[in-house]
C-alpha cells in the first residue's frame, strides 16, 4: 500500500468529516476574531503601536486555534474507537500521522485566511510587499505547531485531564519556537528594525533570515521526532 494513498485517504476523510460536523473550524475562526477584537478594544487608549499588538494577537490566535484543531483530530477517532480500526489496518503509523498533520495544517491555513485580514483591518497593520514572506512564516509556524499538536492530540485522548493537558504541554513545548516566530512577524509588520541587538530574547533570533532558519529547524526536528513517536503514542491511545 502506497504512502500517498493512506495520507490522501486520511486527509480527505478528516476534511469531509470536519466540514459536515462543523465542529471546530467555526470555533477556531470565532476565537481568532474574538481575540483580535478584545485586544483592539483593550489597546485603543494605550500608546502601543498597532503593528506590535497585531503580530502578537495573530500568534496568540494561531496557538489557541491550533489547540482546538489538535484536540479535534483524534476526538473524531476516539468517538467510535476508530483509532483501533486505523491501527488494525496495514498502514504505517507514520502515514497516519502525516495525514493527520496535513489536516491540521490545512485547518490553520483556512483560519489564517480569515484572521489575517481581520487583524490587518482591526489594527491598521500591513506587511507592504512582504506577502510572500508572511505566507512562508505562517506556513512554518503552522507546520511546527501542528506537528506537536497532532502527536499530543493523540496522546491526551482518553486521559482525564484531556484538553487542559493538551494546551499546557503544547504551549510549553512550543515556547522556544515562539521567539523566532514573533520576531519574524514583528519584522514583517514593520514593528521593529531589521536587526535587534542587545541581550533581549528577540536578539536571539538575529535577523529575518536567521529567524526563518530557526523556524525551519524547529519544524524539521518536531516533525521528525513526532513522526517517530506516533506509533508508540497511538498504540497507547487505542
Amino acid at each position: 500500500m502506497s504512502f500517498g494513498n493512506v495520507v490522501r485517504a486520511i486527509f480527505v476523510k478528516d476534511l469531509v468529516t470536519e466540514f459536515r460536523a462543523k465542529k471546530v473550524l467555526a470555533a477556531m475562526i470565532m476565537l481568532g476574531v474574538l481575540i483580535a477584537w478584545i485586544f483592539r478594544i483593550a489597546t485603543e487608549a494605550s500608546i502601543l503601536d498597532g503593528s506590535v499588538t497585531a503580530a502578537a494577537v495573530l500568534l496568540v490566535g494561531i496557538l489557541f486555534s491550533a489547540v482546538l484543531a489538535s484536540e479535534r483530530g483524534f476526538a473524531v477517532e476516539q468517538e467510535n474507537d476508530c483509532i483501533s480500526a486505523l491501527l488494525l489496518g496495514s498502514a504505517d503509523a507514520g502515514d497516519i500521522y502525516i495525514g493527520k498533520l496535513l489536516v491540521n495544517i490545512t485547518l490553520l491555513c483556512i483560519f489564517e485566511i480569515v484572521s489575517v485580514p481581520a487583524v490587518f483591518v482591526l489594527f491598521n497593520a500591513g506587511v507592504g510587499r512582504g506577502w510572500l514572506q508572511l505566507i512562508i512564516v505562517l506556513l512554518l509556524i503552522n507546520i511546527g505547531v501542528s506537528s506537536v499538536g497532532t502527536l499530543l492530540g493523540c496522546a491526551v485522548q482518553g486521559t482525564r485531564a484531556g484538553n487542559s493537558l493538551l494546551s499546557i504541554l503544547l504551549l510549553a513545548i512550543l515556547c522556544p519556537m515562539m521567539i523566532p516566530a514573533i520576531f519574524a512577524l514583528l519584522l514583517l509588520f514593520g514593528a521593529i528594525g531589521d536587526n535587534v541587538l542587545g541581550i533581549g530574547v528577540l536578539a536571539l533570533a538575529g535577523d529575518f533570515n536567521t529567524a526563518i532558519g530557526f523556524l525551519a529547524a524547529f519544524d524539521a526536528i518536531f516533525v521528525t521526532v513526532c513522526w517517530l513517536l506516533f506509533g508508540f503514542v497511538a498504540g497507547e491511545a487505542a
Binding site: 485517504a9 476523510k13 469531509v16 468517538e79 474507537d81 480500526a85 488494525l88 489496518g89 496495514s90
Partner: protein, 273 residues
C-alpha cells in the same frame, strides 16, 4: 572439441542451479503446506496485567482454520483484553500469540492484513456515509478492486438500500452490519468479534450467524466473545469459559450438550453478576 569441453562445467552448473531451484520450490511448497496446517490463532501462556491488577493469567488456546471459538465469561473476566491482545492492539505481559504461524511480537506487519476485528464499538465514522466508510477503509487496508469488493459487501451485508445514508443515523443492527463489512473488507483469514450480538434482535443475530458461517466456510477462523451463548454456539466449533482471568473450560461443541451448557452458563452468569 573445445566447445564440448567448455560446455561440460556450464552444463553441470546449470543442472546444479536447476536442482537448487527445485529443492527451494519443494521447500517453499512444504512451508506453505505446513502453514496451512498451523492453527489460525495460537495462544501460549498469555498473561496481562494493568499495574498490579491481573487481567489474564496463562491463557493458552488454539483455533484451527475454518473453525470458530466462542469465549464466554462474566463481565471483567478479561474477554475484551484477550481479544485486543490477539488483534495486536495490546501487548501481552508474557506468553506468545501466533496468527497463521506468524509471531505477533516479531511479525506484526505480516499479521495485520490477516486480521479483521469487530470490537465493542462500531469503528465507523458517523459523519461519513456507508459507502464512504467502506471506501476509506479499503484504502487504509490496501484492498485491490475496492469498487467491486464494496458492492459485494453491500450486497452480502444487506446494506445496499443504506449505501448513501450516514453511518450515524443507522440503527444498531445496520451499524453492526457495516462494522462486519468493514472488518471483512480486506478478506482476512481471522475474524475477531467482541460481543457481536449485543443490542441485536433475533433476526439481526441470525443474519450475523449466517455471515460468520459463510466466512468460516471460506476457510476463515473466528473468535467470538459473547454473553449470547445460544447464537455463538451456532457458528462455533469450540467453546471456552474465562473466569477470574483464567481459562476454566475449553471443549468442542460436538462433545457437549449445547442446550445444557447454555442453561448452565446462563445460571452461572446470573450468579456472578
Amino acid at each position: 572439441m573445445l566447445r564440448s569441453e567448455s560446455t561440460g562445467p556450464e552444463a553441470a552448473a546449470k543442472s546444479g542451479k536447476s536442482l537448487l531451484r527445485r529443492v527451494a520450490k519443494d521447500m517453499g511448497e512444504q512451508l506453505q503446506e505446513a502453514k496451512k496446517q498451523t492453527a489460525a490463532i495460537e495462544l501460549a501462556g498469555v498473561c496481562k496485567s494493568f499495574g498490579s491488577r491481573v487481567v489474564l493469567e496463562g491463557i493458552s488456546l488454539s483455533v484451527a482454520r475454518g473453525e470458530g471459538l466462542c469465549v464466554c465469561g462474566a463481565n471483567a473476566a478479561g474477554k475484551t483484553t484477550l481479544l485486543r491482545i490477539i488483534a495486536g492492539l495490546l501487548q501481552p505481559g508474557s506468553g506468545a500469540v501466533q496468527i497463521c504461524g506468524f509471531d505477533m511480537r516479531t511479525q506484526a506487519r505480516e499479521i495485520k492484513p490477516m486480521l479483521g476485528a469487530i470490537l465493542h464499538k462500531s469503528m465507523v465514522y458517523p459523519q461519513l456515509t456507508v459507502v464512504e466508510n467502506l471506501r476509506f477503509f479499503s484504502k487504509l487496508y490496501g484492498v485491490r478492486d475496492s469498487k467491486g469488493r464494496i458492492e459485494e459487501l453491500l450486497e452480502q451485508a444487506g446494506l445496499g438500500a443504506y449505501r448513501d445514508d450516514r453511518a450515524g443515523v443507522l440503527s444498531r443492527g445496520m451499524t453492526q452490519r457495516l462494522a462486519i463489512a468493514r472488518a471483512m473488507e480486506h478478506n482476512p483469514s481471522v475474524l475477531l468479534a467482541d460481543e457481536p450480538f449485543a443490542g441485536l434482535d433475533a433476526k439481526a443475530s441470525k443474519h450475523l450467524v449466517s455471515l460468520l458461517r459463510s466466512f468460516k466456510d471460506k476457510g476463515g477462523a473466528i473468535l467470538v466473545t459473547t454473553h449470547n451463548v445460544d447464537f455463538a454456539l451456532r457458528c462455533c466449533e469450540s467453546v471456552a469459559v474465562l473466569e477470574d482471568h483464567k481459562l476454566i473450560f475449553n471443549a468442542r461443541v460436538s462433545q457437549i450438550d449445547t442446550a445444557e451448557f447454555a442453561r448452565d452458563y446462563l445460571s452461572y452468569a446470573r450468579a456472578t453478576v
